[in-house]
Amino acid sequence: MNVTYKKISTKTSLTLFAVALLSTFSLPALGQNPRLDIKNLEALAKKASEVVDVNLDAPLLKLATKFMTDEDDREGLEVIKNLKGVYVKSFTFDKPGDYSPADVEAIRSQLQGPAWSRIVSAQSKHEGENTEIYLMTGADGGKVLGMAIIDVEPTELTVVNIVGPIDIDKLSQLEGKMGIPRLGEEDKESSQKPAGHHEKP
């Protein structure tokens, strides 16, 4: 009886081990999470005059899509309906220089993993603005699993984290909505790379 029990136990253990191993391989983008930890940027929060967090989880996005019935909403709806969440953290500072480039590194450091690639870095030298867009792709390098946008201005810093599959060609549908900054303004000296060209930060 004990022998049978041990056999089953060993078999079960092996099965569980195999399942666990397979799960590890199938985790999105080598185990990285497209959801950034943007809630706890305490060092920046202490320097800011105001901090705004926007939290659009899947249920709230689903709620929003129910009423996007206008013709104008069609493309936006296509983008939103597959998303798992949109998270925005915006810091406002009293004056330029209240935060340092090193503070922004706290955010960039989360985008150093192999699954994240910077696809856009647009700078405006005159206004001191800088926008970076990062994509997280699946292990096969094709499917976009998440996106991060860092928008740096002299007295404002905004971090946007979009979680879920995104068609980057349709990203413009979300510009200026849900706290996502407008991208690709004409006055910016853009160093944009083609969508297929992934640049490591």
Binding site: K46, E50, V54, L63, A64, V88, G176
Partner: protein
């Protein structure tokens, strides 16, 4: 007889009006009443009773797409044990209940104000929004219904709308 009626009509109207003005803000909504009771128990403090007229006026001059506005103010609360912030938020979510989705949070670092905004679906083509603003000594709780167009404005620029709501709550405290 005619004189009596002339006298009675304005008197009844005045009574009705007075009743409306002095009515507690949350009297018409059992759920909001329960929420206010839970916050009241949390802070061991009753809300101010003299703001019925504010709700009365607010419901007549609400922005387009906003209705069923209700507000209560808790004055002289003691937040020293559980100051508003990250840890306080989870306690507030328990008080508010799971049906509300956390949507926007605004923290004015200078003044120490925290504003928590929650939303949920409310019947056909309506949304409810709950806004709780807390500083070191006061809490303002506002609940309202939004049309899809009004919610769309929130979704278009939640950062700005969140800031505006904090200002509105601050104005309510001042008034």
């Amino acid at each position: 007889m005619r004189n009596r009626r002339t006298f009675l009509t304005p008197a009844i109207l005045s009574l009705v009006l007075l009743q409306m003005l002095s009515f507690p803000a949350w009297a018409g909504d059992q759920e909001f009443h329960q929420l206010v009771e839970r916050i009241s128990a949390y802070y061991q403090k009753r809300p101010m009773r003299s703001i019925g007229w504010l709700n009365f006026l607010a419901n007549r001059f609400t922005p387009h797409g906003v209705s069923h506005f209700q507000m209560v103010i808790f004055d002289d609360i003691d937040t020293s044990d559980t100051p508003p912030g990250e840890e306080f938020e989870s306690g507030l979510e328990r008080i508010v209940g799971p049906s509300y989705q956390p949507f926007v949070r605004v923290h004015d670092v200078r003044s120490g104000d925290w504003t928590y905004i929650y939303t949920r679906e409310s019947g056909k083509a309506r949304f409810e929004m709950l806004i709780v603003t807390i500083d070191s000594s006061e809490a303002v709780v506002m609940k309202m219904q939004l049309t899809p167009d009004a919610l769309r404005e929130w979704l278009d620029d939640p950062v700005k709308k969140g800031r505006d709501s904090r200002e509105e709550a601050r104005q309510a405290e001042v008034n």
